[in-house]
């Protein structure tokens, strides 16, 4: 009698499919993610993980979320064929997923609606948030107003200057905007300050993190709330065009709009995935915000991920014309997608992004947020190398109304 061959475990399963199981129970995406916080936050994070698990398995919670996404946010957002931009690029067809049409003008509200409903379910009366461009702050102040929750938003004083209109919007919505003067006075410092506030007020406060960073369960939870972008896009592509895009492109600050559109396409191996980081003055100059392109693994804000840091492990200063991308870290799932090669990470400079902003505004009549303009710029480059019957889907993560000052300043004008 022949001895049977020993059975192989998972014969030939490509590594990419491991995404289905990510993160593990403690929030790891391969070597990244996890929970690196001071001891005081461990119990509140456990409480949050449990509450989130219960909520997402509760049909009533999910139905309330879907209702709000439809009636309050305005979902589903359309996909739009940017024909003139495509023609100009001279290659593939460029389509936009119109997250700029959401209530409050960006994808950020998909996540704040979800987390605010969770906060209310957990009986928390006070909401805090960090913000860079102010879009997450506005989206948080908005849902707090609607649910009658007290709201404090931490914002770097440099960003408050760059995004003065959003500061005023948050105040109109009843939120207190607390200037952060420490460190580089931008998004990373606002996040430090929000974490410090949370440590001091864990009993009554819910911290709504605005991107797929932070300690577990935030990267997974925020991804789940943002994945509605990709689920809709995939369905809309199939309904409208009877096919999937050849490439999906999104800008990456912390990475929430990107993971939101990427995640439902990860199993579609013919769909190329591109995350666009802020190249600032150019990655070679060191003045940029592109940790995946030029950083190394490290630990910041509660998770292990690619970081911009010096040889002594100190976090480096960042630069980008867009406040929402001006962050030295990136969500841990992106670090992992980079390492396994499922997603490609590229960079676009300030100048390229500003050019794309103007071009998109002039020939499509759509003013992209400066963050989203990075994705548009890369999509133009990419489309030019592709055939006219191919499709590039771009996440238009937000609208540019908030950026009038920055755009004018870059053009040497003042408003």
């Amino acid at each position: 009698m022949n001895t049977p061959e020993p059975q192989q475990l998972d014969p030939g399963t490509p590594l990419v499919h491991a995404w289905r199981n990510m993160p593990d129970v403690r929030g790891h995406f391969g070597p990244y993610g996890g929970r690196f916080v001071a001891e005081t936050l461990m119990a509140p994070l456990d409480e949050l993980s449990e509450a989130y698990e219960a909520a997402r398995n509760d049909p009533a919670f999910m139905a309330a979320l879907d209702n709000d996404l439809a009636d309050y946010v305005g979902r589903p957002t359309p996909i739009y064929h940017a024909e003139r931009l495509s023609k100009k690029a001279g290659g593939a067809q460029i389509w936009f997923k119109r997250e700029d049409l959401n209530h409050t003008g960006a994808h950020k509200i998909n996540n704040t609606i979800g987390q605010a409903l969770l906060a209310a379910r957990m009986g928390k009366k006070r909401i805090i948030a960090e913000t860079g461009a102010g879009q997450h702050g506005v989206a948080t102040a908005t849902v707090a107003a609607r649910l009658g929750l007290e709201c404090v938003v931490f914002m770097g004083s440099e960003d408050m200057r760059r995004q003065a209109t959003n500061v005023y919007r948050m105040r109109l919505l009843g939120a207190e905007v607390r200037p952060v003067e420490s460190g580089s006075k931008t998004l990373k410092d606002a996040m430090n300050e929000a974490l410090r506030d949370w440590v001091a007020h864990v009993d009554d406060t819910f911290y709504i993190i605005g991107t797929v960073a932070g300690p577990h369960p935030y990267p997974a939870m925020v991804r789940d709330f943002q994945a509605v972008i990709g689920r809709e896009s995939r369905r809309q592509m199939l309904e409208r065009l009877d096919r999937l895009p050849d490439a999906v492109v999104a800008c990456v600050g912390g990475g929430s709009n990107a993971i939101g559109i990427f995640y439902p396409f990860l199993d579609d191996e013919d769909v190329q995935i591109y995350g666009v980081e802020a190249g600032g003055d150019g990655v070679a100059t060191g003045r940029h915000a592109a940790p995946l392109s030029a950083g190394r693994s490290g630990v910041l804000h509660g998770n292990r991920t690619y970081l911009m840091q010096d040889d002594n492990g100190q976090i480096s200063g960042t630069h980008s014309v867009s406040a929402g991308l001006d962050y030295p870290g990136v969500g841990p799932e992106h670090s992992w997608l980079k390492d396994i090669g499922r997603a490609h990470y590229v960079d676009i400079t300030d100048t390229e992004a500003l050019n794309a902003f103007h071009e998109c505004t002039r020939i499509e009549g759509i003013m992209p947020a400066l963050e989203s303009a990075h994705a548009v710029a890369y999509a133009q480059k990419l489309a030019a190398t592709m055939k006219p019957d191919q499709i590039v889907l771009v996440n238009m993560s937000g609208r540019g109304d908030k950026d009038m000052n920055s755009v004018a300043e870059a053009a040497g004008e003042s408003l």
Binding site: V37, M42, R196, V199, N312
Partner: protein
Amino acid sequence: MSRLASRLGALREQGRSALIPYLTAGDPAPDATAGFMHALVEAGADVLEVGVPFTDPMADGPVIQGACERALAAGMSLSGVLDIVTEFRQRDNETPIVLMGYLNPVDRMGLDTFAERAQKAGVDGVLIVDMTAEEAPDVVPTLEDAGLDAVCLIAPTTGDARIEKICAKASGFIYYVSFKGVTGSASLDVSSLAASVERIRAKTQLPVAVGFGVSTPENAADVSRVADAVVVGSALVRQIAEHGADRDATQAALRDTLSAMRRAIDEQDNTQGEARRA
């Protein structure tokens, strides 16, 4: 036995509370720190806690944030902190030193290299604020293999099961964070402190130090009544900030601040000792 364990053990036998001052290495300049450390020992420090500056000290309030910024601006690094310890050890081979900091600088240097270099420099214990037992099963063994104690934090939010888990891994002493908040906040509540320290003592023989929020001699005495050791940080770092570049004035202020706490703790220890004997 480690320098840390024998020092704290001896104090416990004598019924005395340990006083552990903290300062951020390199604040306001790398060549100031060793001198400040000697001054603190002269003023009654039993153990020294030396902060490794980090750009993003998320568990620290504005006072220690400021110290980190000054130290980094003056060129301080983890490597530089180890040099300071080496320098300090040329004149003091007795006082135990605990390094306190955040994970990323250690991660960048490499845990093995760090542990080896720290031990060689004369460090006795290490406390990494954002390193939890779950994330780094290898951190504690690596530190201990190098002969370093792994000091761990316990917070008011830590449940009994976790307290047990943390105590099983920790060595040197347990650092109890006296309230929910960042360093330097003033909201010490001594009444709840006693119960919390008892909760920890039920799980471990290790000495329990209490820190965060000790800013006056009265605070120090109150804490010493219930804990084995009192950690004081922001109150000292504030002196460094206020005196700027004047080293002599800073050292005098550090000495005054700490010796007032030393006296208050000793009086408290004596009263407690007499009460016990009576």
